[in-house]
């Protein structure tokens, strides 16, 4: 039997250069942080099983699973709506990886491991919304897209999951973006172009925002 050695790489490792991009000499208006090494499981209810799945999710996460375009923060996971009767589970350190979620939702849901299939980008800064407004047709004003709002949408013709996480200590909004790994580099460059006029602070992190 062939032996395999898997080493995971960020889909953005060639595109991401830490530091400042675009406008300099003033505080960067946009902060882009790629989050690396996360667990992401797509959970899709089986036919007629949504109510049962929702109960099982409540037991496991101690919060109600999203039944509409919202992202719900649990103790050690974020549950992000991704369509009718389905949501994503974002977590770290194997707490809610495939091998633990599969038995918990056995018979109720179909699960698909997306951990290495998506890139996760956290967008913040005073001009974050201005940058996103160039790429997305969604209204991201706080009155319409508050903390916990989520959207399955298209950004620059690329399918993406966008949700607003908890605000930063200084009150600034944080937008989180999941994008297919193979489209991540393209969207990354598009965001660099869109945000260059505001200055972009580029980092990566191992911590979920």
């Amino acid at each position: 039997m062939a032996e395999f050695s898997w080493s995971s790489h960020s889909p953005l490792e060639h595109a991401l250069a830490t530091g400042v991009h675009g406008l300099r000499g003033t505080e960067a208006g946009v902060s882009l942080t790629e989050i690396r090494n996360f667990d992401l499981i797509q959970v899709m209810a089986r036919r007629g099983k949504w109510a049962e799945l929702a109960r099982a999710a409540k037991t496991r996460f101690e919060v109600a699973a999203p039944d509409g375009p919202n992202a719900v923060q649990a103790k050690d996971a974020t549950l992000i709506w991704s369509g009718p009767d389905q949501f994503l589970v974002l977590s770290k350190d194997g707490n809610h990886a495939m091998n633990t979620l599969a038995p918990a939702f056995s018979g109720l849901a179909s699960l698909s491991d997306q951990s290495h299939a998506r890139a996760l980008i956290s967008i913040s800064g005073a001009k974050a919304r201005s940058m996103l407004a160039k790429l997305s047709s969604l209204d991201l004003h706080p009155a319409v897209f508050p903390v916990g709002a989520a959207a399955a949408t298209s950004i620059d013709h690329t399918s993406a999951t966008l949700w607003r996480g908890g605000d930063q200590p200084d009150g600034q909004a944080v937008f989180n973006l999941l994008v297919f790994a193979t489209f991540a580099e393209s969207l990354w460059h598009t965001m660099l172009d869109a945000g260059a006029e505001y200055g972009i602070d580029i980092r990566y992190s191992e911590e979920l925002a």
């Binding site: 899709m44 209810a45 007629g48 949504w50 369509g83 009718p84 047709s137 399955a152 949408t153 298209s154």
Partner: protein
């Protein structure tokens, strides 16, 4: 043109794909060749209110049944197509 997805809310047209007339029903297995031919190929060219299937592929990936006036693009109703979402089987 914007479409109010019953799951996602108001979204731009670019997130949706048009399938076409939602009226044709698949004929029974023994209905004969003419009925199948009609079902697969023949469509009315409606000038006015029409029931259509649209796919929200750039969003929640749900099939929708939309009532649209082809003359004015006015959309009078948007609902999930039958079977959309695991909890909504047979709707």
């Amino acid at each position: 043109m914007r479409i109010v997805c019953p799951f996602c809310g108001e979204r731009e047209l670019g997130e949706f794909t048009y399938l076409g007339d939602a009226k044709p029903q698949r004929p029974a297995a023994d209905a004969g060749e003419d009925a199948v031919y009609d079902y697969v190929y023949l469509r009315d060219n409606v000038a006015g209110v029409m029931s259509e299937h649209w796919y929200h592929g750039g969003g929640c990936r749900s099939w929708l049944k939309i009532t649209r006036n082809t003359l004015t693009h006015e959309i009078s109703s948007v609902e999930p197509a039958a079977g959309v979402g695991a909890a909504k089987v047979g709707v």
